[in-house]
């Protein structure tokens, strides 16, 4: 089954990719770590960011969490609120 997940981009990741969300093809049983690998291949400029976390459905996710197409996924570059 071919599916994909939409990834929300903020801050520097939005600036570097020029998009506020990107669609990433999702293999079955793909994990957060796989998604990060794909994103880095698709957008090598992401390597310039100090760290990248992933949020799934509004919660910080570990790299071994399995993704489904209905998940709300977001890339979280280093935060700087306050």
């Amino acid at each position: 089954m071919n599916s994909s997940v939409s990834v929300l981009l903020f801050g520097i990741t939005r600036d570097l990719t020029g998009q506020s969300s990107v669609s990433v093809p999702l293999l079955e049983e793909a994990r957060v770590g796989d998604l990060l690998t794909q994103l880095h291949q698709q957008y090598p400029q992401l390597a310039g960011i100090r760290s990248l976390l992933v949020a799934v459905n509004g919660e910080y996710a570990e790299t071994d969490q399995i993704l489904t197409p209905s998940d709300e996924v977001a890339l979280i570059p280093p935060v700087s609120g306050g």
Partner: protein
């Protein structure tokens, strides 16, 4: 109460909301846009948030503070959008019976917001711009 807003922060309203007849101490922290950072002259800051998660992460911080200290009332207000010099980017207010709790909880909340809440700040200088903390 937790607020993420594009509107200027109303400090008088925040203070009103903190009132409690049992409160002996109120600590209010304001994070303000200053005119320089690392010797570079700042024109403005641009704040961006992952709204849904920013609010839930701020709620987690407030819940943790409520567990650690005897808090009567609190308010956390974070701005987004374009902010000019002197504007308040964040307000943390904590009302407690005794002052040590107010200071400690207030500081814990702002310190933790800066670590975990998905809000991003772009510094726009007179001669360039950068997303804060983004680069190695």
């Amino acid at each position: 109460m937790i607020t993420l807003t594009s509107d200027p922060i109303d400090i008088t309203a925040a203070l009103q909301q903190l009132q409690s007849s049992q409160a002996g101490a109120i600590d209010i922290f304001l994070g303000v846009v200053r005119d320089n950072t690392q010797q570079r002259s700042v024109d403005r800051l641009e704040y961006e948030a992952y709204d849904r998660m920013a609010i839930s992460e701020m709620q987690k911080i407030a819940d943790e503070a409520n567990k650690r200290w005897a808090i009567l009332n609190y308010t956390i207000i974070h701005r987004k959008g374009v902010l000019r010099i002197g504007e308040t980017a964040v307000l943390i207010g904590v009302a407690t019976a005794h002052r040590a709790d107010a200071f400690e909880a207030c500081r814990f909340i702002i310190d933790t917001i800066k670590q975990t809440v998905p809000i991003w700040k772009k510094e726009v200088f007179t001669d360039g711009e950068q997303w804060v903390n983004a680069h190695p």
